[in-house]
């Protein structure tokens, strides 16, 4: 897989810690929703380092979008969020990964469960779903620490209003006085209420920090969901 150059066309502030990089990638071969890319940076003295990032844009979009969360002491994420400017160039290659992917032909019901910045590949899936015939229902359960940390909030509201996606937000640390969404972590009760019953065989994608994914996937299996219908991807502090 070869490295190619991408040019930053636009930078979008998503939350205080997250930024979306809208990239021009003339040689991009196309991707499926849920895949990721490798990004490579090179310092003036030749030092290089690489990281993998999920793709936030749907396959039908012209530009490639990555949404990056600034990790504490993150060597690459701090550069991408704080230093990168419009018209800068990045080296990337991809798409990578083929299992944590949703395509129209896989059907549903489509259940997307996100913890924090784990929402990024799931947003690509939801956009891809919205761009299609929407013959299966799609539901997203998204856990954030605070309302301010919710990435793509306006867009998710729009996807709910215009495309009929069911968006369920839960806030784990603090919430506004008039908050009508869920409160607290994704737990057994919330999954019983919001995942479809196991007999409807939802196709489930879980993405977030390791403990979030571990707990959520295990609870779904305990509730009777078929493990082969649950696909997981984890975002650790090491930025994988």
């Amino acid at each position: 897989m070869i490295w190619q150059l991408a040019r930053v066309r636009e930078l979008v502030d998503e939350t205080p810690r997250c930024k979306s990089l809208v990239l021009e990638t003339p040689e991009w071969p196309g991707h499926r929703a849920g895949q990721h890319v490798d990004v490579r940076l090179t310092a003036e003295d030749g030092y290089r380092t690489e990281r993998s990032y999920s793709i936030a844009s749907a396959p039908e979009e012209r530009e490639l979008v990555l949404t990056i969360e600034r990790l504490k002491d993150g060597e690459v994420s701090t550069y991408l969020v704080d230093e990168l400017r419009v018209a800068d160039e990045l080296e990337l290659r991809g798409p990578v990964g083929g299992y944590f992917v949703w395509e129209q032909k896989l059907g549903g019901p489509l259940l997307l469960i996100a913890g924090g910045s784990g929402v990024v590949p799931l947003r690509a899936m939801l956009r891809h779903w919205a761009a299609g015939e929407r013959s299966v229902p799609a539901r997203m359960l998204y856990s954030s620490r605070t309302l301010e940390d919710v990435i793509y909030r306006n867009e998710l509201e729009r996807l709910a209003a215009d495309a009929g996606a069911e968006i369920e937000l839960t806030l784990t640390r603090e919430w506004p006085k008039d908050w009508t969404g869920h409160r607290g972590r994704v737990n057994r009760q919330l999954l019983e209420d919001l995942a479809w019953p196991p007999r409807q065989r939802p196709l489930v994608y879980v993405c977030g920090p390791t403990t979030f994914v571990e707990t959520t996937a295990t609870t779904l299996v305990e509730l009777g969901h078929d493990p082969s219908r649950i696909r997981t991807e984890r975002f650790g502090p090491t930025g994988s």
Binding site: E75, E89, G97, R234
Partner: protein, 201 residues
């Protein structure tokens, strides 16, 4: 020749021995978890490790018998295709040389299979001569389920997806059959020193 990333200084960590870090990898002290689906929890009384396929006679060890096999301590560095490397990890497990000792086979390849329907393929020469183990302890403790417990394959000279978690057996085959990630575009061999991450690398 890579273009310079404007304004990128990098935060090079002083690495005691750079010769231990393969190209494109960075060091981590924690132990990230990556897996494609839910963590299986197979009870030990239902666990066994089986060698089958192109063999004169299949063999199978239940958990207690497996633990009774001669084991070794393995101190090694590990390298994940998602770019992290972890130095000086310590494991305990059974060498594949021990498991294959009394097996007669003409096969050159094997498919390793795990609970949760994971598979990965390896050449026999990559898992013999002290290069692969079935490990059941990490850092002196029973291996955590999220890290592959009760037992996982350990093939530290290849990217870590080859070190299948929740391993239950291997099937010897005359031909090389791609496993799970190998079928999704990852490299068939996965040598971190040659940076064989993806097909075509």
């Amino acid at each position: 020749m890579s273009p310079i990333s404007r304004g990128f200084m990098g935060r090079r960590r002083p690495v005691a021995d750079p010769s231990r870090v393969p190209p494109g990898q960075y060091l981590t002290d924690d132990f990230p978890v990556l897996s494609a689906g839910p963590t299986p929890h197979t009870p030990l009384d239902q666990w066994s490790f089986t060698i089958q396929g192109a063999v004169s006679e299949p063999v199978s060890w239940p958990w207690e018998e497996f633990l009774a096999l001669p084991s070794e301590t393995i101190d090694t560095d590990i390298h994940c295709v998602t770019k992290w490397s972890k130095l000086d990890t310590s494991w305990r497990g059974v060498s594949l040389d021990t498991l294959l000792e009394h097996i007669e086979t003409e096969a050159d390849y094997l498919t390793v299979w795990s609970d949760g329907d994971y598979t990965t393929n390896l050449a026999l020469e990559d898992v013999t001569d002290g290069r692969a183990w079935v490990a059941y302890e990490y850092d002196g403790q029973s291996l955590d389920p999220e890290h592959g417990g009760p037992a996982r394959l350990l093939v530290p000279h290849l990217y870590f997806w080859k070190s299948a978690k929740w391993v239950r057996g291997l099937v010897l085959t005359p031909d090389d059959q791609p496993g799970f990630w190998e079928g999704y575009g990852y490299h068939n061999h996965g040598d971190p020193w040659l940076e064989q991450r993806y097909q075509g690398d």
